[in-house]
Amino acid sequence: MFKILFLLLLGVGIGYVLRNIRGIHRVDQTAHYTILLLLFVFGVTIGSNHDLIKNIAYFGWQALVIAVLGMLGSFGAGCLFNHYITKKEEEQR
């Protein structure tokens, strides 16, 4: 966890120092390719696990339920927050 935070802050530092160098903003593209590589490597791990492949429908169903519940929860929280902010702004007027 701290390794990730350290790497992130290290990156922010490098980016800040090099911010005027042309082409530094292409890092968004290279990040995309890195994600592709990461997903590819992860895909190989999944694919070579034959038990997992056999049960993909079972896992997919669980994943969908967890995803939809998470979205519903954050939608509700976002609506409440929106309501609170709007009320505050109206009170200030």
Binding site: M1, K3, I4, L7, L8, L10, G11, V12, G13, I14, G15, Y16, R19, I24, H25, V27, A31, H32, I35, L36, L37, L38, L39, F40, V41, F42, G43, V44, T45, I46, G47, S48, N49, H50, L52, I53, N55, I56, F59, Q62, A63, L64, V65, I66, A67, V68, L69, G70, M71, L72, G73, S74, F75, G76, A77, G78, C79, F81, N82, I85
Partner: protein, 208 residues
Amino acid sequence: MKHNLSLLLALVGGIGIGISGISPAWLHNTSLPMIVLSALIIQVGIGVGAMHDLGTMLRSINLKMFLLPACTIVGTLLFTALAFLIFSNHHLSDIMAIGSGFGYYSLSSVLIAQMKTITVGATEATQLATIALLANIARELLSLFGCRYIAHKGGGLAAISTAGISSMDVCLPSILNATGDKRVIPVAVFHGLMLEMSIPMLIALFCA
């Protein structure tokens, strides 16, 4: 869409090569995902550090903006916990760890795989990481396709919250379009960044 398609192709390609058994041994090196992930995190950091309007964005941060990521985290985790009632074969903490991805499937699944391998072994860790990967891919895709509708129903802040981590990239143009309010940009980016920072911490907490 092209962006999503390339991600899907990389994943499906990897799965195909994994199934066929033609992958070289170095691809199965257990430290490889962490090396690639480290490279990714440094690049994400460089992208943030090199932003021209970083100073302006940091100055425009106020207490209200800090609260939206907190709402997203609390809302997501509370409702994700309900899945435990349906899938009681999993630990509650594992389900919460899966929900803590907020749509960032690559980071969350790799982190879960790494952290759970130490405690429960590779097989169960890979299963949980797969559910995390699929759940977070589903969250990103559903947010992307539904964010206009969500923004229309619950407003821009609800759309940002529902999109999770994708609020700062994939879903931002659609949210902006649906609300027509440019003020959502710093909120959405800050929201995404805060969630991104919280993912490793939450997953470490739930996988401990």
